[in-house]
């Protein structure tokens, strides 16, 4: 049965979604139970999948859909391919999904009302899509799954207030452009190679030596443009801040840690597996240097924009944009340490963004205020929430026991190894700005005066969230916060193991 682990962990949330839809309107409680069960199963299966991949010393798990064997060396069906990297991210996705469902328990009735079952169905389908993206080895199947994640996120975001609907519309436009560019790129590759399997495309390009062909270069640029739009790399980031900050809070807490990171994973996969390191980092290509500089711009711009925001969630979303710059830059450094650092940062960023978003949502819901002055005096009133927020913030700054320190460490050493000093400087600079941002909040929270419940909620944007006043936070919101804060620390403590797993897996592809 362990052969079928990859597909079983996809099917569990898929069936869960079908059952949730059958509950129809209003039955949020049952839908919650169903999605807890289905995502719990899925998380357990992904732990087993990781253990199984780790037990295989070399290579990866392949799973052929429909049992179609290759014909004259080319895959005719669709193939799944799971290595350590994929298994780690699948585990992160399913765990975040599961923990976020705990968080959703009290928020769903408050924020989406009777449509709760549809919310749970959509979020489970989103998890199906994300896990599918990570595991598939077929370029076109990847497109279909990207569209599954996009469509579910459009709907999940638009379930919020009127600003959310408008941001979701912009996301539809940008997301469709991104996905269509990806599809065009795949089309160009198909025209030149006649196959859609990622490994087969690579083999064909290698055999025919098509690396200098204009159409392959254009295909590469198109796929990169598409993926960058989806992951909100700096000049293409326009849709992200509004979409994530106006979405219902439990949508934001799920999508902010995962969506951009999975697309970064797709980018690394396209770079190293589909095209190969020789083509991507080749000396005579124009892009290698350019993209590291683009990531530097993204890091600096994201940090500055975050510093300028007075809205908690907006600030966090601009920090995500800076983090995307870290990962893109790390992947393009042309050093194994840099790639491993980028990959490590996918995991640690997922953990710390999750932690920060949950903490921020609790603060916003409890104080009824979405600006930074919500934090005034909160260490005294909401000490538990603030501990979680502090751990996430320290990780964002990059202080030692947390995972943020270690992933940044590897990114910086990658930058030094490959001589990209501008990237090192940008990382240190952005850490400095993060320190300014978070210590400003800590100061407010420690010394500021408590205002209590605000009389009038001036910001029209939070009209969906009732100001319930500062009182005890339900366990269903605190437990996810603590698990995520703990995972920030665990990912930091396990850095030796994680780094060796990741770099071993990357060594296999880099040769």
């Amino acid at each position: 049965m362990t052969d079928h682990l990859p597909i079983l962990l996809l099917l569990s949330p898929l069936f869960g979604a079908l059952v949730c839809v059958l509950f129809g309107k209003g039955n949020s409680k049952n839908a919650w139970i169903v999605s807890m069960i289905s995502l719990g199963i899925s998380s357990i299966l992904s732990v087993f999948l990781l253990l199984k991949v780790l037990s295989i010393k070399a290579g990866d798990i392949r799973y052929r859909m429909g049992g179609w064997d290759p014909s004259s060396g080319y895959e005719v069906g669709i193939e799944l391919r799971i290595d350590i990297l994929a298994a780690l991210i699948v585990l992160a996705v399913t765990l975040v999904g599961f923990i976020n469902t705990i968080y959703s328990k009290t928020r769903v009735p408050a924020e989406v009302g009777e449509k709760g079952p549809f919310f749970y169905a959509l979020i489970q389908l989103l998890i199906v899509g994300l896990c599918g993206i990570i595991m598939t080895n077929d370029a076109f199947n990847l497109y279909v799954l990207i569209e599954i994640t996009s469509l579910t996120s459009y709907a999940l975001i638009a379930m919020g207030n009127r600003r959310a609907a408008l941001s979701s519309f912009n996301y539809v436009i940008m997301g469709t452009i991104g996905a269509s560019f990806y599809l065009l790129g795949v089309g160009y590759l198909y025209i030149k190679t006649g196959t859609l399997n990622i490994d087969d495309i690579h083999t064909y390009l290698e055999n025919e030596n098509l690396w200098t062909s204009q159409s392959i270069i254009v295909a590469f640029i198109l796929i990169m443009l598409g993926v960058w739009t989806k992951m909100a790399l700096f000049p293409l980031h326009g849709w992200l801040p509004n979409a994530y900050s106006y979405a219902p809070s439990m949508t934001g807490t799920f999508m902010a840690p995962l969506m951009t990171k999975v697309m970064v994973y797709v980018m690394i996969r396209v770079m190293l597996w589909l095209f190969g390191a020789d083509f991507v980092y080749s000396e005579d290509s124009v892009w290698s240097e350019l993209i590291v500089w683009m990531s530097v711009v993204a890091i600096v711009a994201g940090s500055f924009l975050a510093l300028a925001r007075n809205d908690i969630k907006k600030m966090l979303t601009y920090l995500i944009i800076a983090e995307v710059g870290y990962m893109v830059g790390g992947a393009w450094l042309n050093s194994l340490t840099g790639q491993a650092g980028a990959f490590y940062h996918i995991l640690s960023d997922a953990a710390m963004t999750f932690c920060l978003f949950i903490a921020a949502s609790i603060v916003i819901i409890r104080t009824g205020e979405s600006r930074l002055n919500a934090f005034d005096g909160l260490f005294r009133k909401m000490p538990l929430t603030m501990i979680g927020f502090t751990i996430g913030g320290l990780s964002m700054i990059g202080l030692p026991p947390t995972c943020g320190f270690f992933s940044k460490w590897y990114l910086i050493s990658g930058g030094i190894e490959s001589g990209h000093w501008e990237f090192v400087v940008a990382l240190l600079f952005s850490s400095l700005i993060n320190a300014v941002i978070f210590f400003k909040i800590f100061e407010r929270a420690y010394f500021g005066k408590i205002k209590g419940i605000k009389e009038e909620v001036s910001v029209a944007d939070i009209d969906m969230i009732p100001a319930e006043g500062i009182k005890s936070v339900p366990a269903s919101m605190l437990i996810p916060l603590f698990i995520s804060a703990l995972s920030v620390l665990i990912l930091g403590i396990m850095n030796k193991n994680l780094f060796s797993w990741i770099s071993n897996a990357l060594k296999m592809i880099n040769g």
């Binding site: 079928h4 597909i7 079983l8 099917l11 898929l14 069936f15 079908l18 059952v19 839809v21 059958l22 129809g24 799973y63 052929r64 859909m65 429909g66 049992g67 014909s71 004259s72 060396g73 080319y74 895959e75 005719v76 069906g77 669709i78 009777e114 449509k115 549809f118 919310f119 169905a121 389908l125 899509g129 599918g132 077929d138 076109f140 199947n141 279909v144 799954l145 599954i148 469509l151 579910t152 459009y154 709907a155 999940l156 638009a158 379930m159 609907a165 160009y188 025209i191 030149k192 190679t193 006649g194 196959t195 859609l196 064909y204 062909s213 204009q214 159409s215 254009v218 640029i221 198109l222």
Partner: protein
Amino acid sequence: MKFFGLLSVIIVGFLLLSATKDFPNWGDEDSPANSGPVSSFYIEKTEEKTKVPNMVTAVLADYRGYDTMFETVVIFIAGIGIIAVLRTYGSNESIPKNQVGDEGAGLLARMTCSLILPFIQLFALYVVAHGHHSPGGGFQGGVMLGASYILLALAYGLARAKSCFSEKRTLVFAALGIFIYVGWGVLCLVMGSEFLNYSALDSILPGGVEMARSHSMLAVEIGVALTVTAIMFSMFSNLSTKGRLDKGL
């Protein structure tokens, strides 16, 4: 904004055209896509391996059946996404008076509809069932079947169509369709083979391994058709009433 838009569109256009100079010509039989091993395998081996003369259906429902499963899920997501975004429950005040009410369209349109509806539905079922042998399949047939209910709603009013296909029923049908598709794949798992490996079902389906594949394609196409029918009607009824599901266009 307009200028930068135009500029970026032209840059993208040139980029795309610059790649076409080493592309195969129109109708080239020897291009990698047309003569490669994957395409040749589909053309030469499909009938031998699956006994389905329509290669498109075979590739869709068997070789790339995993893709098609997610395609059905995409339709399903669109349907429940529209409900999640748009549907409003409760009081149905403020119905614009200028909309055609529940009585639907005029006598002529209603008579015509009642005459052609059975034929549309019969043809849709034929398209679903005969998708292996002629152009057609679950998506095409499902869309036609969905269109027949939309026509009913246009001619006789949404209430009449909803009496055939209530909201609850659309959701059940949509979920059932995916359940058939995925369940068929799980059946293959249970029989000890890979997901969607229909050849494992030859012990419970008549006619050997090849016919098992052929029959399984029909089964999953029926699942697809159910989902598409339900979601098409659900999309129409929600979009045409702004999610109130009270009175149609």
